[in-house]
Amino acid sequence: MEESNSKAISVKALAKNFGKVMGGGDGSGSGAVAAVAGISFEVERGEIFGVIGPDGAGKTTLFRILTTLLLPDSGEAKVMGYDTVKDYREIRKIVGYMPGKFSLYQDLTVEENLKIFATLFNTTIEENYHLIKDIYGHLEPFKKRRAGALSGGMKQKLALSCALIHKPEVLFLDEPTTGIDPVSRKELWEMLGRLKKQGITIVVSTPYMDEASLCDRIALMQEGKFLMCDRPQAIIDSFGKNLFSVKGDNMGALLDGLREAKGVLSCFAFGDSHHITAEKDNGTSSAVTAASLKAELERAGFEGVEVTKTEPSVEDCFMELLSK
């Protein structure tokens, strides 16, 4: 038994390039595009692992390799100790995959869709009903309705039910919260929490940074690479700089003004304010404080300036990593 077998997922130097026009995923166009550029990571059994990154970062490609739908160019990936290339049949028995795009039969009813996937995995709806009861309960009144006629949130619940019906050991959810309302999003995350308690390992991708804190560990992905992979709090703790939130009357000019300001290391727009980073004060008088920054900006002629020191979020860490 190799050591890696005790992990739910172990990936070593995984790479996948897309040729000129391969259609698949978000491959852009000219030349070979590295969708996954040499990634190594591990996922522990029973944890919620989040892959966070903007559109086109390579999340879907990574998921498709892990769910045996795509062959990697190089490197290897194991799911529950099974190789994604050699043992793909075994993996298909024990993983559940919910693609980002709704991929159930729109012309079949809710119940028929669920029954198909139960049958394909040699099981029945009754056998694993306890797993999906919470989600499928919402859908039951509509079980005779065609899947195509469901709302976005309902479709998502049905897709999750179908991915769970065979009691998978590892569940892959590709952007499950994209395009659904905040209430459904919240419900979905609560659901994932309950599934985790059942011992199911969950790998979830999302473009939303605010969902990072709901994961046990996250990986920040950009252009096919993991910029960082750790617990959300550890990532925040490693920020290592002071962070200030700045508002003013003329936000556009303020951004330029901040970049000129003394002691400011980086500066980026963050929602309705600007976030700037500065070195942690180590007792010297040159350290930037909220008051010193406000004074400097007002000297430069900005009006209505508010500066507050804030705690960094995962998004700040991500922006900081990107600016390097």
Binding site: Y105, I116, L120, N122
Partner: protein
């Protein structure tokens, strides 16, 4: 598992608004309508007559022409120029000009000439029309000659052609068996291929691919329903041909089903190859049309393969449609049995192996 997948395919098929209706209407269209419109027999040719003679002989000739059923007298003109006007405004297709001394010459010299002028813009109508007309005049010639010359010349030879297997040379008899093949090709080639590509396009195939179901079961679940539907449609075609034209196969119906099964196997394999290379329905449709049109024109459905230039004849061996059309025509009209159909049998078997083998290989290559 396969049973449930088949159930799913049938559910989807019958839930589709258009497909089940199309599957029933198509054989009827193909058998009842197409042979009537795709017909090389020429009827209703508009004939302009310029009769300079106005004798009883010329009247008899005109009556004979009009009675044949092919011609409609559209114009009776005083002069050739006037009749020509009729052609220019598309009122008539052919002019028959009878000279002034027709009766006179016939009685005195035993021969005369009439002039036939045809509008060759529609080459088939003009060409066939003037041939028919010459034929009718020829017959008339024999009739009046008979009156005059039976006693003098008892040894004249007349040729009576006899058309084997299709005695009345009915175009429908020739076309119907071939059109059945077209219908079968559409149902068993097009539909499963488009179905698979449709699953690719909607992404549902991904969801199926992450399940432990084997490729073979998946593909069978796609092909079997259309094989069954194809044979139902073929049977409807047989019935429609019987009801509409009284056309039943001279040979054994079992032979037809055997060859149809072989053809369906080959052609659905071809459909699978297309579905492997196409990633959108649009691509699949276009590829299908390209190849199916090529196959149809190379198959001898409309024009006999022997009429084609040599290179096209050589090329026609790649059309699986050619062989099955030959089989259906021969069994239907001639009553050929399996022993006479070795070549099509082996060719169709080779196609089945070739296309399905290619489908398996091209499937493995991808991802």
């Amino acid at each position: 598992m396969l049973k449930y997948l088949l159930e799913k395919e049938f559910k989807q098929f019958f839930r589709n608004k258009a497909l089940p209706k199309m599957a029933v209407i198509m054989p009827f269209m193909a058998i009842l309508i197409f042979p009537l419109v795709a017909n090389f027999e020429i009827k209703n040719i508009n004939l302009a007559i310029v009769d300079h003679d106005k004798s009883s002989t010329s009247r008899q000739l005109i009556e004979k022409v009009a009675a044949g059923g092919y011609f409609t007298i559209s114009d009776v003109a005083e002069s050739y120029a006037e009749a020509m006007n009729g052609i220019e405004v598309n009122r008539s297709d052919i002019i028959l000009e009878i000279p002034a001394r027709l009766e006179n010459d016939l009685q005195r010299e035993g021969k005369t000439t009439v002039q036939i002028s045809a509008n060759a813009v529609s080459a088939i109508k003009g060409g066939l029309g003037s041939t028919y007309l010459a034929g009718i005049i020829g017959e008339y010639n024999i009739e009046i000659n008979g009156k005059i010359t039976t006693v003098m010349n008892p040894h004249s030879i007349t040729i009576t052609p006899r058309f084997w297997y299709n005695p009345r040379l009915l175009y429908t008899y020739f076309m119907v068996p071939a059109l059945m093949v077209m219908v079968l090709a559409m149902v068993c080639g097009f539909l499963p291929a488009l179905n698979i590509v449709g699953e690719k396009e909607s992404g549902t195939i991904e969801q199926i691919n992450v399940t432990p179901i084997s490729k073979l079961n998946f593909i069978l679940s796609k092909l079997l329903p259309y094989w069954i539907i194809g044979f139902v449609v073929l049977t409807i075609s047989f019935l429609a041909a019987w009801v509409a034209y009284g056309l039943t196969p001279v040979g054994s119906i079992g032979t037809i089903y055997l060859f149809a099964a072989l053809f369906v196997l080959a052609f659905s394999g071809f459909g699978l190859v297309i579905s492997n290379y196409a990633s959108t329905l649009q691509q699949a449709m276009f590829m299908m049309f390209f190849f199916v049109l090529t196959f149809i024109f190379m198959s001898g459905l409309y024009t006999p393969v022997a009429n084609m230039p040599q290179w096209a004849q050589n090329l026609s061996i790649i059309s699986p449609l050619k062989y099955i059309i030959v089989v259906l025509r021969q069994v239907y009209l001639k009553g050929s049995t399996f022993t006479e159909l070795h070549t099509p049998f082996w060719m169709l078997t080779s196609f089945a192996i070739f296309f399905n083998g290619w489908a398996v290989l091209s499937y493995r290559k991808k991802s």
